[in-house]
Structure formats: C-alpha cells, structure tokens
Symmetry: C2
C-alpha cells in the first residue's frame, strides 16, 4: 500500500514523554532509551520533547544558564545520531544551540536513520511571559519555515510557541511538509485554578489539531511532565504532558497522560492526506490575492 507519490502508506511515529531532573546525562539517557523502546516497537520516526536534556531553565533569567548551550552538530546531535543509526529510526531532538558568542537558539535537530544530520530548525516565534522568559535566551530563528527532508518523510518541524501560530503550520504545509512535529515544554502556573488549567491545556491541544485540519496533515506533539522550579527565585511550573498524535482531520490517534512518562507508538496512514484534501480541498481555495495584510503587525 503506497501513497500517490509512491511512499509506503504506513508511517509509524514514536513520541517520548518524560520528566527532566537537574542531571543532563540522566535526561539524555531517558530520551535515548525512549528512542530505543519506540524503534523496537516499530517507530521509523521518533519525536523528543523540547530541550529534553535540561530542566526548563527559561523560567528565570540567569546568564549562567548559557553554559548549558552547545553547538550543532555537537555532543547531543552525536548521541542522537548514534541511537538513530543503531535503531534505524529517524530522530527529532531539541538542543539549546550556541551559534556564536551572543547568538543562541532553541533548535530542533533531525538525525537521519544512518546517523547523518538531516537538518535543523531554529525556533521562529519566541515567547516571553511569566515563567517562560525565552526572549532572554533565544535569538529568533532567521531561516524561516523550511521543512526538513528525510528518508521517512518531509518533516514540518516547529517548536513549542510556534504551535500558537497558524501561519507557521501553513508555511510548512505550503512548502510540502508531510507531517507537522512540535517538541514542546508547556505547563501550568501553580497559581492557576482548575478551570483555567483545563482551558489552557484544551486550547493547546485544540489549536494544534486545527493546524492538522487546516492543512490536511498528521501532527505529533511531545511535551514534558513533572513539576519544576529553576531556583528558589523561579516559579513552579507543572508541565502537563499530554503529548499526542492526530490525523489530518485533527482526529486524536493517541494522547499521553498529564503526569506519567510514556513512549507512544502510533501508525499513521499517510494516504489520508490525499483523501482528506480531495474531500475538503482547502488549499485550492485560498485567497492568495487577499492575504497581504497577514504581513502587517496591526491594521491601525
């Protein structure tokens, strides 16, 4: 069974959700073990969570945290490459990248099944709000929204805050991405009540499912679990897990718990992108003559 372009119809995706503690090596070992587990269960493509080597250090602004950064390629891509080669799975990881003195990025990296570096995506939309002070750490990506070609698929890799922007998903789809992938690190403020927590997590899942729907693409998202605080000065964030995979109508195929480490393995039927785009041909009817103001900040 193949797609109209001759690919295998089945694409088996793994998603590795775990907790992070202050020990980098232990965190990375968890991620690598998750890749092994997923690959043994058939995953050809494995998605890790955002900044999986570290506790989420961005909850406070501390210049000392730049010591956590590393080059790409570097130690983390080498470790991921070894595991990709050994398992035969394509791996999407996440690195706090040092590009030059004073230029750091939040970078998703893609390792081919043979261990080569297929490409990287530098997070374009950078958040900054209480508990997520990323504008201090990360220079916004300057390479746009370019999918990364691999032997398993053309990957539309985006990172966390990008997930709130329909433009990002659309641009990846228009550039031929066959699946959208979101390494994430998002959680609740411990001061928020239960109703606000529900609304926030539900918003987060809903808008990503909507990117799948708008573009007729499957989507996978990987988020961490656990309560973290960077220091006694920082807030406590309860990361909400809930990593998930959905199909091109936004239909949930798998969803993890909010508080348990889990390795999900989900087989996606890629033929559904063709089928869904035939029935609901949204890309056909886009009014590209009338979208110019998308490039404006506000029309005042």
């Amino acid at each position: 069974m193949t797609t109209p372009t001759g690919q295998s119809a089945a694409l088996t995706v793994g998603v590795v959700q775990h907790e992070c503690d202050p020990d980098r090596e232990r965190n990375l070992a968890q991620a690598l073990a998750g890749i092994e587990d997923a690959a043994q269960r058939g995953a050809e493509l494995v998605l890790l969570q955002e900044l999986h080597n570290h506790r989420y250090f961005c909850s406070i602004e501390d210049p000392g945290n730049f010591d956590l950064a590393e080059p790409v390629p570097g130690p983390t891509t080498r470790a991921l490459a070894d595991t990709a080669r050994r398992t035969g799975a394509c791996v999407v990881g996440s690195v706090f990248e040092r590009r030059a003195a004073g230029i750091y990025h939040n970078t998703a990296v893609v390792l081919e099944r043979d261990g080569s570096l297929a490409g990287a995506y530098r997070k374009m939309h950078i958040p900054d709000d209480p508990g997520y002070q990323e504008k201090f750490y990360f220079t916004p990506g300057d390479q746009g929204f370019r999918p990364i070609d691999t032997s398993v698929a053309r990957l539309g890799v985006l990172v966390c805050w990008d997930q709130w922007y329909p433009e990002a998903a659309r641009l990846m789809a228009l550039a031929g991405a066959e699946i959208l992938l979101f390494p994430s690190a998002i959680g609740w403020d411990s001061a928020d009540d239960a109703a606000e927590r529900r609304r926030q997590m539900d918003s987060w899942i809903t808008i990503q499912r909507a990117h799948a729907i708008a573009n007729g693409l499957p989507l996978a998202c990987c988020n961490r679990i656990g309560s973290e605080t960077s220091s006694d000065r920082g807030p406590v964030i309860d990361f909400w897990g809930s990593s998930f995979v959905c199909g091109p109508q936004g239909e949930l195929l798998w969803r993890a718990a909010t508080d348990q480490p889990q390795v999900g393995v989900v087989t996606i039927d890629r033929r559904r992108t063709e089928q869904v785009r035939r029935v609901w041909p949204f890309l056909r009817d886009r009014r590209i003559d009338s979208y110019g103001d998308i490039g404006r900040r506000f029309a005042d």
Copy 2:
C-alpha cells in the same frame, strides 16, 4: 464594568438555529421570530444562519436558482432592519445577493439597532465539492476581510467555508474585529459512516475554536438543521446544527443540538480578550518578516 476602551464588559449574543423548508416566507418568519426571542432574552447582537431564507439550493447546479437572489439592500435587509429596529438588536443575516447580471454573491448583512445597514461581507472563500456546488452560484468576494463597525462591537463577519481558513480570522483580528461571527450551512453526506460524521463535525468545531484561540477573540457560529435535498437529482444533506459560542481561549460557552431548532442567548465577557492577550500575547510575536510565502499557492 467596562473594557479598557470603555465598552460595556458584557456583550449578549443570540444565535438562531432552525430548519429551512421550500417556503421562503416561512423560513424568514422563523429567523425573525428567533431574533425577537433572543432580543427579549437580552441579546444585543443576533446571528442568523447562512442563506436562512432558503433550502440549501447549492447542492445542485440549476440556473433557475438565480431567481432566488435579491439585491442588497432589498427585501431581506428591509425585513431584518424592521426587526432590528423594533427589538433594538443588531442583526447579522445572510442573503443570496444579486449584484448585477452574472454577478451574484453569498453575502452576510449587518443591520444596526436603528435599522440602518451597517455593512455587508461578501464570502471570500467559495467551496465546490459534491453537495456544495457554490462556485456555480457565487462570485468570490472582492472586498477582502474588513470588519463591520456597529454600536455593539466591531464585527468580524465571515461565512461558512471561510471558517476553514486561519488567514480569514487572522485578517479580521488584525483589522480590529472584537468578535468573529460565522453564518454556516454544513452537514453530513448521508453516505458517510458514523466515524466520518464524528470526525467532520469535530473538525468543524475544533478549527473555529482555534481561530478564537489564535486571536484571543470570542466567536459565534450559526448552522442550520434538517435533512434537505434540492431535487430528485441532488444528494441528501443532513445539516448538523451544533451552532455554538466560545470565548477567547476557545472555551465553549454554549452549543446547540444537532437536530433541534434552538435560540441560544449567551453573555460574553469582553474583558477576557484583554486578559487572555496579556497572558498569551500571540499577536506580539508574529514573525511578519517571514510570512511572505503565505501569499503563494504552493512552494513547488
């Protein structure tokens, strides 16, 4: 209680979901009765469904159906204006508009509380798929995505197929819309199985909730109910109702049944747009320097 711009914080919205039969006068009378009902229960703004005067004639291509069209302003806007003035509610209706010989539009009309015509929006994205042959009937709108100013709010009025396009909602938000409004006519193909029906309806609600989330705006959608067929040549469509109102985190505030006429009256707290956009300031971080390819059909 007011918003930062001095508006009343509470905005009470009515949504009139009903069945249509072949009798135009009866359909319009139902819509007008729904406005009266909603206004008596406090609605300041009432949303009707798409093409509420008629059965959904677009399920087949029949040149005779152009006889159903009328000018704007015309008989329907006059009837809506009378009801708007009498009830003191601002009304969003829907007209099969004859603009000139050979130029017809699917047009949403907005009547002020004093009965004046506040503005109109001509559907920009026109579908064409089995059962929804709208490209035969409707010239695509040529006036872009411009909100309509009224005494109750700046309204981001869009129509049905527009609801699948994040660009449409975004452009309305960037132009200062304070609420998104979608008159709709969508249903199931009687040949679809239960799982496909669930996926389709869920997609439709999900993507609209996502427009609310992406833009931090409340949203109301009004869809018809009932099984219709235009003729013995046409397909049977089971319109799925499920009109709804959600807040700026996509949280559902009200949702109608799939098969019952209903008039919903929902009070929205407009202060939440300010609050939500402070916590999740998505508009701040848009990468307007990198969205140029949104204006391309496909990047091949």
